[in-house]
């Protein structure tokens, strides 16, 4: 125990032995930790905002379908939709963490406005209910149709293709039901953009009643679920599996696999690369400082070995010193990172529109204790790995040679 205390004391005092070099080492580690910590906070903020945007724009926390519906194509899809949706939803509301439920029906239609005809993929929704939760559906003009029975909202690309504005009339022609085709005249109440150009150029939303009427059904294709938080999904899915074996709960990241999951994977890979570069810079800084320190103390190492200290014991002392350096440097970096995010970056960082996105946004730096612990761990690991080679070289030097070292 006393040996550990004395080694730790030595390590702490050694940190301040060559102040300029230690300052350089601490600055290298602190800057690395600061960069990594803030970068992870930025990454977390970006991911959380992207996730919130995905959930609040379109998907909710997930959807419920009839079991097996999504696994294959159906000749008559409506036969595989959810029957008596109101009764099912009334039961679902009893499950924990359910905030709201939104019945939906997919509609593929031809939209006609004057001389313009454009194909689109839309949804029949409960406009009044969805207006409260799906707040990330940004309206360029107008707004939700809410409880208006003949309203339609369009993606801005689709509106441009049809050449329509607010209050213009559109005829929706649907291939389905009997007799076919069915059509309905609707009036534009809003033009929205979600951030995805591809989605906005084909998407529309109409009242659920209109969609059911066009498709001649009283069923719904899916029920979108709003929970109290993303973390509540696994328990909710488990509860659905237990209480509603005929339904399948699909999370939002599975529904939006193409955009959300791929974007997350792509960003993760990019961030991992940048994280690697930061760690490499820290590693080289530590390696340089420890190499110099070990070289300077070669005769000391020789003395300790001559007095019967084992190679492992001496190496342990130097590794401990690297750990002390890493912990001090990381603590400074983490504190600076926290101060930066609470001060100058309190309002986040303004970002230009991302590829495929039509609006700019601000990313909040969301620092997390887990990220801080990870940064500390990485700093210590980097310091230990960075000191092993010079220390191992020094302790393997013949003792007499080490004692002569100048």
């Amino acid at each position: 125990m006393r040996r550990a205390v004395l080694l730790l004391t030595m390590s702490l005092r050694n940190v301040f032995r060559n102040r300029r070099r230690s300052l350089f080492a601490l600055a290298t580690i602190a800057m690395g930790a600061l960069g990594l910590f803030v970068f992870m906070g930025f990454n977390r903020g970006l991911m959380n905002q992207y996730r919130a945007n995905t959930i609040r724009a379109r998907w909710g926390h997930g959807h419920l379908y009839v079991q097996g519906y999504r696994d294959r194509a159906h000749a008559r899809p409506s036969e595989h939709w959810i029957e008596r949706p109101s009764a099912v939803m009334a039961q679902l509301r009893g499950l924990p963490d359910v905030l709201d439920l939104f019945p939906r029906l997919t509609v593929s239609a031809i939209l006609v406005a004057g001389e313009h005809t454009v194909g689109g993929n839309g949804e029949g929704i409960d406009g009044a209910a969805e207006a409260g939760f799906f707040t990330q559906l940004n309206y360029r003009d107008g707004g939700d149709f809410r409880d208006r029975g003949d309203g339609i909202v369009l993606g801005e690309g689709l509106a441009r293709g049809l050449g329509v504005r607010l209050d213009d009339e559109i005829r929706l022609v649907v291939q389905g039901g009997e007799p076919s085709p069915h059509s309905a005249a609707l009036r534009v109440t809003g033009i929205f953009h979600t951030g995805s150009q591809e989605f906005d150029s084909r998407a529309f939303r109409i009242p659920l009643g209109v969609a059911q009427s066009l498709l001649a059904t009283d069923r719904v294709e899916s029920i979108a679920v709003a929970l109290t938080g993303v973390e509540a999904w696994p328990a909710f899915a488990k509860a659905v599996q237990a209480s509603f074996p005929g339904l399948e709960a699909v999370p939002f990241d599975e529904l939006d696999r193409i955009y959300y999951r791929h974007a997350v994977d792509w960003l993760d890979a990019q961030f991992a690369f940048i994280r690697g570069i930061i760690l490499l810079v820290v590693f080289l800084g530590i390696f340089n400082v420890i190499s110099m320190a070990v070289l300077e103390r070669t005769r000391e190492i020789g003395t300790l070995r001559a007095n019967g200290d084992s190679r492992v014991a001496i190496a342990f002392g130097h590794v401990l010193e690297a750990v002390v350096l890493a912990v001090l440097g990381a603590a400074i970096g983490l504190t600076a990172g926290w101060a930066l995010s609470a001060g100058p970056l309190r309002d986040g960082i303004a970002m230009p529109p991302a590829p495929g996105i039509t609006r700019s946004f601000r990313i909040q730096i969301e620092l997390a204790i887990a990220d801080g612990a990870q940064v500390l761990g990485l700093a210590v690991l980097t310091a230990v790995v960075g000191c092993l080679l010079p220390v191992w070289r020094a302790v393997r030097m013949p003792i007499a040679e080490a004692l002569r070292h100048v």
Partner: protein, 223 residues
């Protein structure tokens, strides 16, 4: 039985056809409790002989027996153990750890042994008192004079109750009066505690304090 039995020991530095002979065919016996000086000019092989006796080198030829055991056949771990338990060094350049106090420098070499804290503390303070610097225990080396630092180095050598202390020109970095005081301190410790001291020097006044002087010249024992 002698503490050390050195027989036909040779040692070379370097290799690949550029080997330089440092010691050649050296025979030497050292008795327990002896106060032995190794004299000779620079490059005569004094330090090499001390390093061989301290198990820092392995001879290229010949044998070195410590308490009857052939040290040249021992592995690194066993040599480290012997150094820790039987041998202590005092260096010309002192080689104290600058970030530790005098007390901590002396105590440090005891930490490898599982001694109770009180015993470790008592032995450390006794060693510092024996060399007359107990009142400097809390000072770091850079705040001490050369003579005081050398006394810390001696206390560090004594504290482990070793059977032999090897001192390579222990007074070379000290002025004449301090050097004499240090050598008389070593002599007193040799007499009072029965520790074997083997030291190198080329200062006649220091050598005069020795029980026996072995002269080295060009790596061979001259007398």
């Amino acid at each position: 039985m002698s503490l050390y039995e050195v027989r036909a020991v040779s040692y070379h530095y370097g290799g690949n056809g550029q080997a330089v002979s440092a010691l050649a065919d050296v025979d030497l016996d050292v008795d327990a409790g002896e106060f032995l000086a190794i004299a000779g000019p620079s490059g005569s092989g004094k330090t090499t002989l001390l390093n061989l006796l301290g198990l820092l080198h392995t001879p290229d030829a010949g044998t070195i027996r410590l308490d009857g055991r052939d040290a040249s056949t021992l592995g690194e771990r066993e040599r480290t153990r012997l150094r820790r338990e039987r041998i202590a060094f005092i260096f010309q350049s002192l080689n104290l750890i600058p970030v530790l106090t005098a007390y901590e420098n002396v105590e440090y070499v005891l930490l490898a042994r599982s001694l109770p804290r009180a015993e470790r503390c008592r032995r450390t303070l006794d060693a510092l008192a024996a060399v007359g610097i107990a009142d400097q225990a809390d000072r770091r080396p850079q705040r001490m004079s050369g003579g005081q630092q050398q006394r810390v180095a001696i206390a560090r050598a004594l504290v482990r109750d070793v059977s032999v202390v090897l001192a390579d020109e222990p007074t070379a970095a000290l002025d004449q009066p301090t050097g004499c005081a240090v050598i008389h301190l070593l002599k007193r410790l040799n007499r009072d505690r029965g520790i074997t001291f083997i030291f190198s020097s080329h200062d006649p006044r220091i050598l005069a304090a020795a029980d026996r002087v072995v002269h080295l010249a060009d790596g061979r024992i001259a007398s």
